[in-house]
Amino acid sequence: MSSVFKAIADPTRRQVLALLRERPMSAGELAGRFDVSKPTMSAHFNVLREAGLIDASKHGKSIVYRLRMSVLEEALMGLAATVGLDLGAGVRGKEEEA
């Protein structure tokens, strides 16, 4: 669960999830919506994938991402976005201590 908190703590990743709530999208399509470099975007995708919140599948030359969130995870994300909670603070703290 800590990987989920870490994933949804970042506003860019929350925006990716919000976009994928609308429909599945290709990596290029998603990256085009953000003003960040491709490696950074790729790192965000990896965090989301490791947390099990998104799924990737290859279709032709493009990688298509789709949402894979449970209802509880979606509710947590909504809460984090609404209240502005920093859900990843505890996880980051532990990582810094280690």
């Binding site: 099990g52 799924d55 789709r66 949402l67 894979r68 449970s70 209802v71 509880l72």
Partner: protein
């Protein structure tokens, strides 16, 4: 352990809870461990567990059911319908469990507890039928 085996394990665990919880309540009552003047505790526990299992399956439904289908005319509508179904079953299951836990007498609870599930099914069928109609 594969994902399928884990799913099967959870399904067996759920079934075991549904069987063992009422049996445990009967045994506890017979041994004098709990008071059950209305003799309805096993039935209520079964109802609560069944409601929570519906909610648990509703919770994971969007994770399990959404597959990317490039041939689908409206993947957004399809995905939204599946996510909607998950939310509906979570709320229906929780409402069902709450009714079993709070409404008295148990006959009334049994009757009322069907309402959120029936309403949930109607909503989900209606939404899915609309998506299907739009796709065809």
């Amino acid at each position: 352990m594969t994902a399928k085996q884990r799913e099967l394990g959870w399904a067996i665990f759920g079934a075991a809870i549904l069987i063992l919880l009422p049996l445990g309540a009967i045994a506890a009552r017979n041994w004098g461990l709990v008071e059950d003047p209305g003799h309805d505790l096993p039935g209520r526990l079964y109802g609560i567990a069944a409601g929570l299992i519906v909610a648990a399956y509703g919770n994971i439904a969007p994770r399990k059911l959404v597959r990317y289908d490039p041939g689908s005319a409206r993947p957004a509508r399809r995905q939204a319908a599946i996510r909607f179904s998950g939310w509906v079953f979570v709320f229906a299951g929780l409402a069902n469990a709450l009714i079993w836990a709070t409404v008295s007498p148990i006959d009334l609870a049994a009757m009322l507890s069907m309402a959120p599930l029936a309403l949930g099914l109607v909503l989900v069928f209606h939404r899915c039928a609309r998506v299907k109609a739009e796709q065809s």
